[in-house]
Amino acid sequence: MNGFKAGRRAVLGGLAAAPYIGQARAQGTSPSGDPYIVGTLFPMSGPNAEYGSVFTAGAALAVQHINADSMLRRPVRIQAEDTQALPQQAVVGMTKLVNVDRAHYVLSAFTAVSKAVAPVGDRAKTVMVNGGAVGPDLSGLSPYFWNVIPLAHLETQALLPFMMQRNLKRVALVYVDDPLGDAILGILRTALPQVGGSLVGQFSVPRTAQQFAPVAARIRQTRPDAVYIASFGAQQSQIIKQLRDNGVSQPLVSYSAMNIDSVRTLTEAEGLIFTTQSTDFEGGDAVTRRFATDFKARHNADPGTYQVNYYNAVRLFGLLAQSLERENAEVNGENLRRVLLAQREFDLVGGKGRFDELGNMSAALQITEIRGGRLVKVG
């Protein structure tokens, strides 16, 4: 029997993403024929599921816009696979997307997940685009693996001079024991001494750890000026809360993963400093303004960095596929890459998106502080 069989992860992922995908599909009636499949490898359940909802919201809005504008001859459809942010689940999901769903383009997130699925996509010559993970080794992972987010080394390059200006020189690091955490540890080890700082303590925590009061006791002993947190999902909020509850009063600093509602609204996150991408929604170009207006109309909230990134990732597919349709060329990984390298510059949310030869998009960064539950630009 060759009929379609939905896996548990696909069903769960589909159910979790359904509110977003349904709205996206409802708009796309003009294009006809078999849809282009944009696969998503996001955590739709488990402790990192908040990211899955955020990422999907951005991607779904882009699909809605592409279909509504009849940008392509065929409609675009999202096929969600729930990874739970785990590499094993992600490889299963990616294999299904490539071999069963015949996905034309796959959206990935999380460093460990992205590194795990890249060989699968590479073998199938399926383009994978990351808009959420920041591990520096995601650059050049495969010719078919692109990044629409600045990676961690760029974020720390922006943050460290700012920290030195504020005299936050002695840094303790709490990092999750996975490729992302290891990458940030490596960066801080080398970059801090170069700017006049020092790494006074490094505390690795397992991905499943929930208790950080003892870690706070160890951090206090190192007498740091600031504590850098390199984690994600529910765990990063738990770390912030428990460090603050247990006598760590020094400034907390981090990277763009903190740009989610559960951190922003956390009382203990007041004063948290982290790097994010800089996007001017009001004074920007027409693409940016349309994105911001429609996002607010649909979600009754301002868009965040991740929604921008995954909107851009899908819009990039629309623009590349449009070029290929004009050439009457097949929309596949090889051709998508060829057009990307030929054009390099695209009209995306936030302005012109420029890609290097490895498929990394450059983006402006800013330093943000949480004040009264709001994000305030401080550098």
Partner: protein, 289 residues
């Protein structure tokens, strides 16, 4: 001072582990049902308290609501899931899979209704202050220790002095004899699920205040409960409670000697040590075969 700090933190976490593990051990000991969805009772109680406090309810009403929801969940899962399965074939594996499925459903329902992110109850009780040089303690420490002691005292009195409690212990030891005396094992199983699930609520409420909740927290709770039940001796309530406390303390105090990433592994080293050197657990009874 670091050792004292870690010991105090370990006692606080261990007290919560003990309450959760005791609930699981009570249910497993009395009914022999591997109630994998015990973590869901914990999660539901925590989120109920969270919603109640967000809605402006006084803490005691929120706490009561958490206990009620956990209890109703325990009663419901026994009546609508385990009992029908046991009536037909009742294999251990079928019950386990059903419980696992219920856990997944609860996790996703909470994710849908409460959001898929971190949530916590903001309270000054969890803010630690320096009580000795470089030793920080929050008021919630005393609440956790005091509440655990009180609940274990009440539970012990119930199981030793009250007829229903004595019958529960008998259900564990000889269910056939119990039925011969005309007692209903179904009613006693319901009682075990009610009391066991209710015991998870205080731990969930205190967890919502200290380390916070997410919809997937139930799995972690179950892991600790299972480990404590095995270390304490399967069927032994006091063993599970003591083992829960021990695991919490071991996890924290281990940081004096090992790197932070090994803290969780220490719990499981303790578990392996018991499985190898004392398979019957702290208070378990060795049975000759």
């Amino acid at each position: 001072m670091l050792l004292l700090q870690l010991l105090l933190q370990g006692l606080q976490v261990g007290a919560l582990y003990a309450l959760t593990a005791a609930g699981f051990a009570l249910i497993f000991g009395a009914t022999r049902i591997f109630h994998f969805a015990h973590g869901s009772a914990f999660t539901l109680a925590g989120y109920t308290f969270l919603f109640a406090t967000q809605a402006g309810w006084p803490w005691y009403l929120g706490g009561l609501a958490g206990v009620v929801v956990a209890t109703l969940f325990g009663l419901g899962i026994y009546w609508f899931v385990y009992r029908p399965i046991q009536r037909h074939e009742g294999s251990f594996f079928t019950v386990f899979v059903a419980a696992f499925g219920v856990g997944i459903v609860v996790q996703n329902l909470i994710g849908m209704f409460a959001g898929r992110g971190f949530a916590s109850v903001d309270t000054p009780l969890s803010r630690a202050v320096e009580v000795l040089p470089d030793v920080y303690l929050a008021e919630v420490f005393w609440v956790a220790i005091g509440l655990s002691l009180l609940l274990f005292l009440l539970l012990t009195l119930f199981l030793t002095r009250h007829n229903a409690g004595v019958a529960l212990r008998a259900l564990h030891q000889n269910p056939d004899l119990l039925r011969a005396y005309g007692l209903s094992s179904t009613k006693l199983s319901l009682l075990a699920f009610a009391v066991g699930s209710a015991l998870a609520a205080p731990a969930a409420i205190l967890t919502a205040m200290t380390s916070g909740l997410n919809e997937a927290i139930g799995h972690q709770v179950m892991l600790i409960s299972m480990a404590a039940t095995i270390v304490g001796g399967v069927g032994s309530l006091r063993g599970a409670a003591l083992a829960g406390l021990m695991l919490g303390v071991a996890e924290a105090v281990a940081l004096s000697f090992v790197d932070t990433q090994w803290a969780e592994a220490v719990s499981f080293l303790v578990l392996f040590a018991f499985i190898i050197f004392r398979p019957s657990g702290i208070f378990g009874i060795t049975q000759a075969r």
